[in-house]
């Protein structure tokens, strides 16, 4: 029977043993001795099943947490440094650099906290990556960067870094509403051979161990994130793709309407947490 086969698969994935709920720890995150991060706050009103939201930082081991506390410990900052060079580099048929129009990267403060966002001109919700590529193509006359490639992820890390400590605050109403609802539906839809949805792990099972990983609530306030596992910065859509594939489902592509919607919804679940990117995670 269908039900039993799937259960069998899930049992094969898990291991015998008692359930261990090791909730988020009590540590406080201050970066560089000055950026105080909010890693715990009341869940936004639109969330029905969770009353307190926690940053993924709170679920990591002490050693991993420590790596994020200083910009000279955090290898994600190497990516930010790369992007700072790119920021000043003139490119494309217009021989324009980011700096030429935008000034210093600090001018981008506040952006990361409100994206994805409705773009009136384009008539759709856009992500930071889309905005970067839009600038490159139309204003610099340069080639687009690969959506989840190193150059793009480094640049998103730079744009994110100047918003650190600011509360995530993406709009879920107005013109963005239908995209948000599409994202919400995707979040709760079971897919794949393992028939799992985002909610099964990140809403119903956060705090529990999945093998030896301490499951977080799956917020993206820390993205792009430097993962110890692949020793590089990871973007949101790259992580979505990995997660979906891990449930043995056919995944959507980075930059697809589905992932844009999902990113808006997942970001909104973290409204109130501080922007941490580039963060350090497992």
């Amino acid at each position: 029977m269908q039900q039993r086969t799937t259960l069998g698969l899930v049992m094969a994935v898990g291991l015998a043993g008692g359930a261990v709920w090791a909730g988020p720890d009590e540590d406080q995150l201050v970066v560089n001795g000055e950026i105080e991060m909010v890693t715990e706050t009341a869940a936004p009103a639109h969330m029905e099943n969770i009353s307190t939201i926690y940053s993924g930082w709170r679920f990591r081991s002490d050693e991993t947490q420590a790596v994020q506390t200083d910009d000279f410990d955090n290898p994600g900052m190497l990516g930010v440094e790369n992007a700072m060079v790119a920021w000043e580099t003139a490119e494309g048929s217009a021989a324009a650099s980011c700096a030429g129009c935008h000034g210093a990267p600090e001018q981008m403060a506040g952006l990361r906290a409100v994206y994805p966002k409705w773009n009136e001109e384009k008539g759709m919700v856009t992500t930071l990556e889309m905005e970067v590529n839009n600038c490159r193509e139309t204003r610099m006359g340069a080639e687009k960067w690969s959506y989840t490639g190193g150059q793009m992820t480094d640049m998103i890390a730079l744009i994110s870094s100047v918003s650190r400590g600011m509360p995530v605050n993406v709009a879920i109403d107005g013109p963005a509403k239908s995209t948000w609802e599409q994202g919400k539906e995707l979040y709760y839809t079971r897919t794949g051979q393992l028939e799992m949805s985002c909610a099964i792990c990140h809403e119903q099972s956060y705090g529990q161990m999945i093998r030896a990983d301490h499951l977080s609530q799956g917020h993206i306030n820390g993205f792009p994130t430097y993962r110890l596992k692949n020793t590089k910065l990871n973007s949101v859509h790259a992580r979505f793709k990995g997660c979906v594939r891990d449930t043995r489902a056919e995944t959507f592509s980075p930059g697809s309407p589905e992932f844009i919607a999902l990113e808006l919804y997942v970001a909104s679940r973290g409204n109130g947490l501080s922007v941490e990117g580039p963060s350090v995670r497992n």
């Binding site: 008692g18 028939e195 499951l215 997660c243 449930t247």
Partner: protein, 140 residues
């Protein structure tokens, strides 16, 4: 009780999955050889070397390790379950302050990290710590 997937996940994922070889790691003798090469087979004292390593590594790819041995001229690190046991040797110069260093290393599986310090008088001191290397959730 109704067996929902949620309950299976709750029941099934409690234990920590360890990536380890039952019994003595196959590479342990390589580590012994490497250490003997360093010490010339001399005895190693203990108590003078402090080795800071996590009990459980969140990820074997990037494990923070610290060593400290006041009075040491150099400290060598070994990992007895890695295909190549040598990890690093820290040689302290005249402007070194505390004869200590921290770094991040790769551990292929649960194993011992061993720090061997060569002291100013030519003697050797060692410290050892077991680090459990785990398999993560989805996708490892």
């Amino acid at each position: 009780m109704e067996l929902t997937r949620r309950k299976i996940l709750a029941l099934g994922s409690g234990t920590v999955a360890l990536a380890s070889v039952a019994g003595l790691p196959a590479f342990a003798s390589l580590a012994d050889d490497a250490i003997a090469e360093l010490t010339g087979g001399a005895d190693m004292g203990d108590g003078a070397v402090k080795l800071i390593a996590p009990e459980i590594a969140e990820n074997g790819n990037t494990v923070p390790i610290g060593v400290e041995a006041p009075g040491a001229v150099e400290i060598s690190l070994f990992a007895d379950g890695n295909p190549v046991p040598n990890v690093a040797t820290f040689r302290f110069g005249p402007l070194s302050a505390s004869r200590s260093a921290s770094t991040r290393i790769r551990l292929a599986q649960t194993q011992n990290v061993i720090a061997v310090a060569k002291m100013e008088d030519g003697s050797f001191q060692m410290a050892k710590a077991e680090v459990k290397v785990t398999i993560g959730g989805c996708g490892g």
